[in-house]
Symmetry: C2
Subunit: 450 residues, 2 copies
């Protein structure tokens, strides 16, 4: 079955070749675009950001280790020199599969082939009101907001004179014990214990509590039991309080509730729920419970051989398990979708996708990580080195690789973090949340330092 | 005259020493703080930012060359280990000189000695409504906003189909021909001509116009005529259109007016007026026309030997000329104020400040700069090398120095700029300003590239 309605060959090679529209330039979208470099088609990439983001390192921006531009590269820069490709900064609002048109916030555009790689966003399990109190980590803006809240909490604690309220500012809750939650919690403790340790006059940042809350019985649920246990021990070694089997029932400006229990905390971070982009819904095809599109083995949508859905937005089972929503799977899908599009352009049949699991790894802190590669379970320093190596390897661009290596080396040797800036809204709700503030009072400073 | 009202010695060395409050941790404030490291007094530093900013390189953040954290360092990190010092993140709203109290947005605090180093902000010459259309460059947030507007202008031009409107998006006006304006204008042309040159399908970024508007008869008015002429030639060599003797009479969302003439431009940057911080007014002492505090030769305020005003907020004449509002002058004032405070603490008389002008320099672009050192006028590549050397030398911290050198070397060799991210508000007024948008259309892309 060809994806063209007749007279394909002639039009493909003619003056105005077929148009492939790719929505989203994450790992999946970027792999498609690069795979279509020599395609006899015109490729239009639509993204609402001008940059591709290396999300596996985003938590390092949130925790003040790296700069946004170290892990993000302009999409234009990456695909520069790809003559059949144009990039459009725009907000996609829907897809009309009958008219074969993508609707934008400011217009619409037709497609012959559509690749939907719009990814996922946070899900607050039916509690959208939690978002304000517990930001998630998906975009550069999210990361800078988390960084701002984290650093501001210590600043406010320094000025707070009510000891109980001060403890609330020095208590951090991370909801969700997957890789992102584990990374955030571990790094938060490191920041408190090492980076900030000597920088305050009235508080001891090392006393900050970091509580990791996970609903299932163990952290890193997709990993082997052995690695989950190792991760737990490594987290506890850093001083993170891990609460497994704990379901968060309420989040507000002053803390979280786990059933009847209340944890008073002024900084709550969300690493729990992920929901597929709402664009999947506009295709009018079956979705799974998380809103992901149920796709065919060749990555197209049932009944629509001209529409591919890939990456975190796609649901495809292999060997009885859903392919996980991770960067390597997204990249592999993108490459395969490009291959299938090229086959279809030649009038040849598409081929089924086969996911190759090359392993997974999560970092916990300085010298602390877990890695699962085939049957190997690796923990601690070796896993941490491996994690660093792999992440630098896949980072886009020599400049970014070099800068990240230097900053990691610097942080490792100095215990410092280079991006400790509070930027953005000067007068956020957090500052308004202050009750009593510390005014300059030098006797206490002397007492602590003396 | 002692700054203490009696029984000074005993209280200085006693349990609760005198309190020095420093407002602002820019170049002037930081120098005071560091100079008071061993002072027999408690030092409270109040700033509304958590970081000291190396403002001379801020335009490089605005033009996507550097990251904010490359040129900013946490104040706590810089003065770490200074046991008599506390740092408070707070917003100062006024000073009550009679009660010797600083009022904050959320409280108040007493002082024995006050150092006011609150700096300057933008002035729109009585046209505050211009600010929205022509952002200035004082803070990290300002720089990121300028970066966002600059990069977004090219993205919008890429999608714009009305040729006249597209030209407006590709026209940039910089108001003010001092060092900041010259640096912004020169770098903007470089970004358009080199960095972005090959990245778009429908526009040629190199055709972007950059117009520098200066009210006085020449650019860089404080420099020698010879260097002004050289700067003009270097700017013109980069393709900047320089308009001297041109007074801007109106700025709105669609351009600027110079008398009867109108320049249609969607991106206007403000580098013209600077006004002293309004805090100077609350001292109740004489100010100059720009709102700066007229200070005594020992840097104190007339009638208030316990109040120092330094940096951009101070007006002091030397050899018949006002000391300029530049970083070296601010640092020198800060060091001297600290020395005078130490003298006063010992009951000794304070000494008059003497500004040593070590020269000034401004960069224009790749290999283009001017420097005036004593009687030497230096232009071009040598001035540019000197400029880079001096700016790296004075940047705070080894890490920042290293990262800046690497990124400059990278930019020089690759013509690339590492921080080309559009972040912040996704739906700004700029996007709403779009009239017709380009929808994916591949034939034209082919035509341009083919």
């Amino acid at each position: 079955m060809s994806i063209w309605d007749g007279e394909a060959d002639q039009r493909i090679w003619g003056d105005c070749p077929r148009r492939v529209v790719v929505i989203g330039a994450g790992f999946a979208g970027l792999a498609v675009i690069q795979g279509l470099k020599k395609a006899p088609a015109c490729v239009s990439v639509i993204d609402r950001q001008n940059h591709h983001l290396f999300q596996p390192l985003l938590y390092q921006v949130a925790t003040a280790s790296l700069n946004p531009s170290d892990i993000a590269a302009p999409i234009r820069r990456i695909v520069r020199g790809q003559k059949n490709t144009e990039i459009l900064l725009a907000d996609v609002t829907g897809i009309d599969v009958d008219r074969r048109v993508v609707t934008l916030a400011d217009g619409e555009t037709p497609y012959d082939v559509l690749v939907l790689a719009a990814g996922a966003t946070h899900s607050y399990f039916g509690h959208p009101e939690w978002e304000e109190h517990a930001p998630g980590l998906k975009s550069v803006e999210d990361a800078l907001e988390i960084r701002r809240r984290m650093l501001l909490a210590f600043e406010i604690a320094e000025r707070e004179t009510d000891e109980a309220v001060r403890r609330e500012w020095l208590t951090f809750v991370v909801v969700g014990g997957g890789p992102t939650g584990v990374e955030l919690a571990g790094t938060l403790r490191e920041v408190a214990r090492m980076t900030l340790a000597k920088d305050f006059a009235h508080i001891d940042p090392a006393t900050a509590r970091v509580i990791l809350v996970e609903g299932s019985p163990r952290v890193l649920p997709p990993y082997s039991t052995k690695l989950s246990e190792s991760a737990l021990r490594q987290l506890q070694g850093l001083g993170v309080e891990v609460r497994t089997g704990a379901i968060v029932t309420e989040i507000d400006a002053e803390g979280v509730a786990i059933g009847d229990e209340r944890i008073a905390s002024r900084t709550v971070l969300w690493a729990a729920g992920v929901a597929a982009s709402p664009l999947g819904r506009s295709l009018g095809v079956p979705l799974d419970r998380a809103g992901r599109v149920m796709i065919e083995p060749d990555l197209t949508v049932p009944g629509h051989p001209e529409i591919y859905v890939i990456g975190d937005l796609a649901h495809l089972e292999q060997d009885g398990k859903a392919i996980p929503g991770v960067a390597p799977a997204a990249s592999q899908m993108g490459k395969h979708a490009a291959r299938n599009i090229l086959l279809a352009l030649k009038g040849e049949p598409t081929r089924p996708f086969k996911y190759v699991d090359k392993g997974s790894m999560a970092t916990i802190g300085r010298g602390a990580a877990v890695a699962q590669i085939g049957r190997w379970n690796i923990s601690g320093f070796v896993a941490w080195l491996l994690w660093m190596f792999v992440h630098v390897l896949f980072l886009i661009g020599f400049r970014n690789k070099l800068l990240v290596i230097i900053q990691w080396a610097w942080s490792y040797l100095s215990y410092d973090r280079g991006a400790r800036l509070i930027t953005g809204r000067a007068e956020g709700p957090l500052v308004q949340g202050l009750t009593e503030k510390r005014l300059p009072s030098t006797t206490e400073a002397e007492a602590i330092h003396g």
